[in-house]
Symmetry: D2
Subunit: 291 residues, 4 copies
């Protein structure tokens, strides 16, 4: 905290960095290229008060330099996985900035598939996969890196096996019990690794993603809350080094359309997918005694 | 055209309809459900002048009714393919509206995959695929339906096998010749079927999509224009009933990052993916003597 | 058109250019700066078949050069108005490209206001106004420039003075007559100027915008169609040099919320603003005998 | 926290609610209507473990009920200001839900102006203003409401009076000192009111907004950090009941275009507005000894 004498008005928490550097790294050591397509954001926090209070930049590593480092490390270190790359990058930024107490690196990775030609994936032609985005957030301090892996925009839907009933009612409640409804959401999930853990990040990612999907598919749902909790338990049970997992899940409502005026029944067949409003469920599942 | 006497100011071309009805159709005839996820827009054109000039709605089928028909036909007719559904829907809307000369139905379809559980796709749990969106535009007149199939947001990239050189130069030209560059685009493609053709729409869709991707992958590119033309030729050569194909393709620039200030070379390895501006190439390939 | 012998498959309509160059032009001839904030897209069409069929770029002015010209002309010519700038730019691009038959320049302008300080607008500090975006589309051919001015995202709403009733009904119609409803839309409007007309573009823009708003406000609406037609008539009546005007207007539905279950009446007071689906009305009003 | 015996895997922090209810409230007590256009999100947190672990909804007030309450309170309580409405709504939701420890209500308000007709604002016709969105976040607990007011998307720009130099340099630094550059940002600002304070929310909002703009305009900037700090100080100095203010400010880069290849100088006149990456500065200014 920094202040000007007598006012009691001081600088509070602050950080700065460069957001959304769009890095595309082609690995072309052989004729069979690989592609890594990233969106990288970096930030630094620490004692940068002079920049705010006195316009003194002498301790400020420019965001332009952060961006340069992002691209240079895509070459120097490589981007084998978002986590591995982010650890190296965050460590570097912290070292380069004496006033910084921490560096935070956020990475989004967009997946690409090889274009199939005669049944085989092409050497250097790719099609973007779409679907979920893989994410990583690494915070590096003098204690070392803290790694959170994740994904967002994983859109899933069950056409049956979901109910919602027996809920609290007040004078503004009009919702009837539902015995069989569509359950759909666009998952954002973040799982935190035990300090010092260095799993094969990509293998772990694929395993967590598969567990999330399988649990969503095979769990009868009495509420989105229950489904999320089951998904979190499945991941923490299978992965000892994951200490907690956080979900943000919009309940994407699908309303059954009333076709009776047109002489048609509608036993769970025709729905309108609504945009807004939507339910929003946020929950963490944690392993006791860990941080 | 309609006018008020003496002014010379008249109604010109006009149409109206309901845009973006989000229809989700679950087929649950067996326990193995299917899902069709559509965004449907309808419009009518014809002699609706009185609605504009006199506020007379007697010939206007409300857009709310159009929306009801969209949902009712998802049940009554089903949505086996966007094209098939759009033909039925457009035909109905035209019949229901004596003043209409034509009905246009636009459909976007979002693809879902079954969630894999123990190696098998689940019966009623799905994950949205992402990637390209399948499209169909059907115009129905007294002459019958005219069908255009397509896709959008098919994002493809070649990490080599693309050049751009020997171009026209003027005093504002600074671009050097490029012998080896990244070529990337997000394709919007629309292909028109011969009047009266009724192929298996979904089989044709998969074939065209595969041809587009394969041709993109295997054609050495001297410009995005050449690549599009080759893709179009491949489709028209393989599909006799397709009379023309139109491309809209942003040239998504990937600029090689200068790493020399950091003592690093960069032989086609690290790129920045730019947002704006972007090249934009639009071209049709047509079969002579057809409409 | 170009073909390869014997196939009957030929190149159809095509054009290419650079989209969305984001030009910010500061006029700083005095200490009282002015700002012009533009999004500029250019394209060329003509005989560019060789680029498609043979990969021959010798007649292709690169989109990179088009972008350079966009920025150079922001200095050389200035951007007093979108129309004036687009005419100069399009004329240049056509001249620089012998194979081109036409050049199309599209401009969006974002408005800024001076930040008020002690009641006066600041010399060099601005706040973006928001609201509608001013647009211009200029097509330049050997016959000279053809100018269309416009705006988009002008969002307007009437809380009364709008009905919709007496419409065509069929078996899918459930909508009741509405005697008093909210009418809301986000206008896209494009008006075309008589060839050779060179009005003060910005004065005309302000006049047309005011006429559109006033007519919307003061016209009792029996349908959005009628309102659009009245707006168009008002503009064409006041501006002799405008030959036609085109509207694209989503009917942004505001549904009255049923508060009766909560013991509350709702005489046109509480609405839910819906996202999708929405009505979409498109119409032109034209002056007879003009192009 | 809740657990299943022996696993050590437990439920962590969680909350749920209904996001983005789009409320439009027309005040029509006289023929001169008023409009309030809101986007309202509500959520509850507390002891909802049974819903997650056992699918027991008996303590869960449905998000559908929360939505109903949102609309009912727009009538019952009115929406004179976002803060006032959010306090009433949050208080109600907390009371209705015994298991809840807190209710959070977030409101965005979109401003509308009366359409000018003959120099006067129309009684019931409006045009959406655009520009910044007013926001409020109210958290209600047994201790009462905690109120944070704010705005987002306030886009400001200075065409001179901004430098950035004397910064820390390392081997990845290529940025030269800048003596005169464009400074532009899209502000998100949130200011927190002392507990129990009940100012005229809208008057305070207008005052804070004006102070932010004026300070931005009149402060010479040696970095965006310094400008934000000055803005925060100005607000806290003028408003004793505001205890802290938080800024999130993307540095929207405007790069000077090199026109020298075209024989043109460019003394701060022609810029390209970049999309990504962008600097991102986050900082709070706080009053010591307050919460």
């Amino acid at each position: 905290m920094s202040t000007r004498e007598g006012t009691g008005i001081v600088l509070g928490p602050n950080r700065y960095g460069k957001a959304e550097s769009r890095v595309v790294r082609i690995v072309r050591d052989t004729t069979r290229h690989e592609i890594h397509d990233l969106n990288v954001s970096t930030s630094l926090y620490g004692d940068f008060a002079a920049a705010h209070t006195d316009g003194d930049q002498s301790q400020v590593l420019p965001t332009d330099t952060q961006k340069n480092t992002v691209f240079a490390f895509a070459k120097r270190h490589g981007v084998a996985s978002p986590e591995d790359y982010a650890i190296a990058l965050g460590t570097r930024l912290l070292e380069a900035t004496p006033a910084a107490k921490g560096a935070v690196v956020q990475v989004e990775e967009y997946a690409w598939d090889r274009i199939p030609v005669n049944g085989f994936g092409h050497d250097h032609a790719f099609v973007r996969r779409g679907g979920e985005v893989r994410t990583a957030v690494v915070e590096v301090t003098s204690a070392g890196p803290s790694v959170t892996s994740g994904l967002k925009d994983l859109v899933v839907l069950k056409s049956t096996g979901s109910e919602f009933k027996g809920f609290l009612r007040d004078e503004y409640t009009t919702l009837p019990d539902a015995d069989d409804r569509i359950l759909a959401t666009a998952l954002r999930v973040d799982w935190h690794h035990r300090d010092g853990a260095r799993p094969d990040w990509s293998t772990t990612y694929e395993s967590v993603r598969a567990l999330l999907l399988e649990t969503f598919a095979t769990t009868y749902s009495r509420a989105l809350q229950e489904t999320l909790y089951a998904m979190g338990r499945a991941v923490l049970t299978a992965h000892e080094d994951i200490t907690r997992i956080a979900f943000s899940a919009p309940n994407k409502h699908h309303f059954l359309v009333d076709l009776e005026p047109f002489g048609l029944d509608n036993p769970g067949e025709v729905f309108i997918a609504a945009d807004r409003p939507y339910g929003l469920i946020e929950a963490e599942v944690v392993r006791e005694g860990t941080a």
